[in-house]
Symmetry: C3
């Protein structure tokens, strides 16, 4: 089970209860009243545990698991260990997310302002908030209901948060407006000056950055990620987008709804990213581009041109995924040929 120093477990739940929570169907013959006490990975699960299979890489572990119950797609049912009760569903990972959240619900925020925190008398703190030691909330900040402000986090002047936000330890929020249920992980920097200079031999002239960062509801931002405020227009992160660790988002960038941006991606200033775009780790996107809705960008790509909606691109400079794969194959073949001749 999860380390009790860090996590509190609920349950047990019956197979029937978990079928209801996850939307999965109980496989024929599986006991609806079976008690499950925990969730565990395939190879660690034992009696009383619920597990799941989502990646065919782990088929061997699936066949050998000692779990009492398994969330699985129907087409894998005949490969399951005979002792296991199956919960059948089309998206076992999503079903697992729901089951795991039942066993390990997010702990409720215990309200209170630590005597070790600094809260300006001119800040507005909503009902039910918790402010941890070392946190700093400056003049004019407005924090909605039930927010958690972590230790040594800084909520700078005039910053506005909706309700049910969680701001991690050592975060800095400046010049920004957040919606509801925004999770900001430790060390994130939001709202500092964008990288705007008018270059010149007698010194690069700083361009005042007079926009904000607008973060819509249900956004999550990974540790040590940086999001610069706009130069004049705002930088915007659309509703429900999820951003991983160490990502850089430049000034005036607009990210659509439901995007997934993996670790160490960099997006340069004034680029617009459409809804439900997926960007692989360490990809870089030049400034002033338009990336259409539903685009998929391979890890480590380097984008220098606009990308139409729905495209899949890879490589640096990035091109249509099929072209990139063809080029890689052609180069390998060419090098082998040269090798033969040598």
């Amino acid at each position: 089970m999860a380390d009790p120093r860090f996590f509190t477990r609920a349950g047990p739940f019956t197979l029937a209860e978990l079928a209801k929570v996850t939307g999965a169907g109980i496989a024929p013959g599986a006991p609806a009243d079976l008690d499950l006490v925990d969730v565990m990975p395939l190879d660690k699960a034992g009696e009383g545990d619920l597990t799941f299979i989502d990646n065919r890489k782990y088929l061997d572990a699936f066949r050998a698991t000692k779990a009492s119950a398994i969330l699985a797609a129907p087409d894998l049912a005949d490969q399951a260990p005979t002792e296991a009760a199956l919960l059948l569903c089309d998206d076992p990972y999503r079903a697992y997310a729901k089951a795991a959240a039942a066993f390990y619900p997010r702990p409720a925020v215990e309200p209170g302002i630590s005597p070790g925190a600094y809260v300006s008398p001119n800040a507005t703190i909503g009902a039910g908030c918790r402010i941890e030691p070392g946190a700093v909330v400056q003049d004019g900040a407005e924090i909605g209901a039930n927010c958690l402000i972590g230790p040594a986090a800084v909520i700078d002047r005039g910053v506005t948060l909706g309700s049910d936000c969680e701001i991690g330890a050592n975060v800095t929020l400046q010049h920004c407006v957040l919606g509801d249920r925004v999770y900001v992980h430790p060390g994130v920097r939001v709202g500092q000056d964008g990288f705007g200079f008018a270059p010149g031999a007698d010194g690069h002239l700083k361009v005042p950055q007079i926009g904000r960062v607008v973060i819509e509801s249900d956004v999550e931002i990974g540790a040590n990620t940086t999001i610069d405020r706009g130069a004049g227009p705002d930088t915007v992160i659309g509703q429900g987008s999820k951003i991983d660790n160490l990502v850089q988002i430049g000034h005036n960038v607009e990210i659509g709804r439901g995007c997934i941006i993996v670790s160490q991606v960099g997006i340069s200033g004034s680029t617009k990213v459409g809804d439900f775009v997926m960007i692989g780790g360490q990809a870089g996107i030049a400034g002033h581009l338009e990336i259409g809705a539903g685009v998929r960008i391979a890890a480590q790509s380097g984008l220098m041109r606009n990308v139409p909606p729905g495209a899949t691109v890879g490589g640096s400079p990035a091109k249509d995924m099929r072209d990139w794969l063809k080029e890689s194959a052609a180069l390998s073949k060419l090098a082998r040929k040269k090798g033969d001749r040598a």
Copy 2:
């Protein structure tokens, strides 16, 4: 206008006053006494606003802007909307920077040491400094006049700052000496141990890092950037260089004057970068190299050799820009040919 929770606007200014501030010339027929109240982007500007055009990508927005006045290069004058007063100049972005700084001047630092800050009695704090809640200033630190030390920033033992520096929230400064007007954005780490190990099968031996970081005047350092101190010699950032977010600078690196280093660049130990070098985002530079003055390095490049002054390089491994472009074109052609045969 900029959000008044975050920014305070000055003005209005007449066209003649803005011509003087920016060094631009008033176009024939434009009313010198026209009152301007704000700066805005082309597509958001309206009556009373000053805007600018610097990138031909935005020509359509330029032709359609509702701004009362526009900073533009002379060769675009005939495409401007007839109602707009033009301020003509060779470098409209630089002129805009000056105008924007007139409307939105940097707020003066309001002196005072917050009761929520920790300042060692053995630290020296110059006149006119502001030290925010949660900041920590340790023994022997020396802070010049009119500096701003942000919330939860840490100025460690013996660190020295010149005057008019701004140290952002949650910054760590150790083993370093800063000049005047250095801006350090939130989450920057300066002066920690360089990555120096003598590797070995019975354990990698830590090499003491006994140098410093020297940051000359007018340097700006982006959020969550890391600059390691020297192993014996110092790490040096030259006067007026501007460094973006999430950049890594290794021990003993020497950066010249006036360099521009874009986000997520990594520069390995002991490399020397000449004056006025421009490094695109996510580029990586190996250790112990010499990069000549005025070199331009494309985004995502990987440099493994010295680069002579004035060169432009790209690719990984990096080569002369023209060679890199030729190789990319040759590979595309080869792949298409193979495709035809298939």
Copy 3:
């Protein structure tokens, strides 16, 4: 000498004492009782200084050094300046590390809890610990003997540290267990939620992250690096591994013993890295891979497949190093040929 504001020097030591400390041999004719007062780089060293040569790039500086004593490999002895006393050894860098640690020993931790720190009454603090101003130690945390907790560092609920750890300024530790002698540099984030979402058009569902981060003894973690906790299994960093700045380590990753991971590397979720693997800067490794023991990965590589033990790989997508070099050469040749025709 090193700046006395930051470093305290021990010594002097005789050549014989330094031979003993470093395991080097005194070259014939060198005076065993020669007093050395400091360590310095080749080009800065003068009378009384010990220096070293480890990289043939610096042979000219070696021949010209004014150092009184030099750590060098035997095959360079005949190129040394005649006035210098030689200490001969097979690994001069490792020997230098030992000599430098003699002149500049790590300062002992001066015990004490700053009145400016917040320490929960329910935390356990070992003997000899120092807790700096602004640090936060939460309920149930257990800190071993002789640990240093830096300013504004956050040790969250239930976190456990062994003895002799150094936690830098502005660090966040959550959901993790550390061994002995773990050095965590400023701004590191350990134990935040992994990037786990079950994607879907009606919103990406957060997957509870119920594992920990286990960091074994003698690990060092560079500034602003991020290590996510496991989703169910733990994320593990093996004994003696050294991680540079701005590295991203995803949930469930297992790093073996004695690895060296250079700055800005990203390792995606559930990948296993064997013992003594070396990963060059900015390399990226996809999820769910197995990287064998002793593998060497070139800077900026992009790994998308398992790598067998002992291999050396490069390129993106990564392949055997020799194949990558062949492909680079073949492409250059092809582009030159096309150029000739043009």
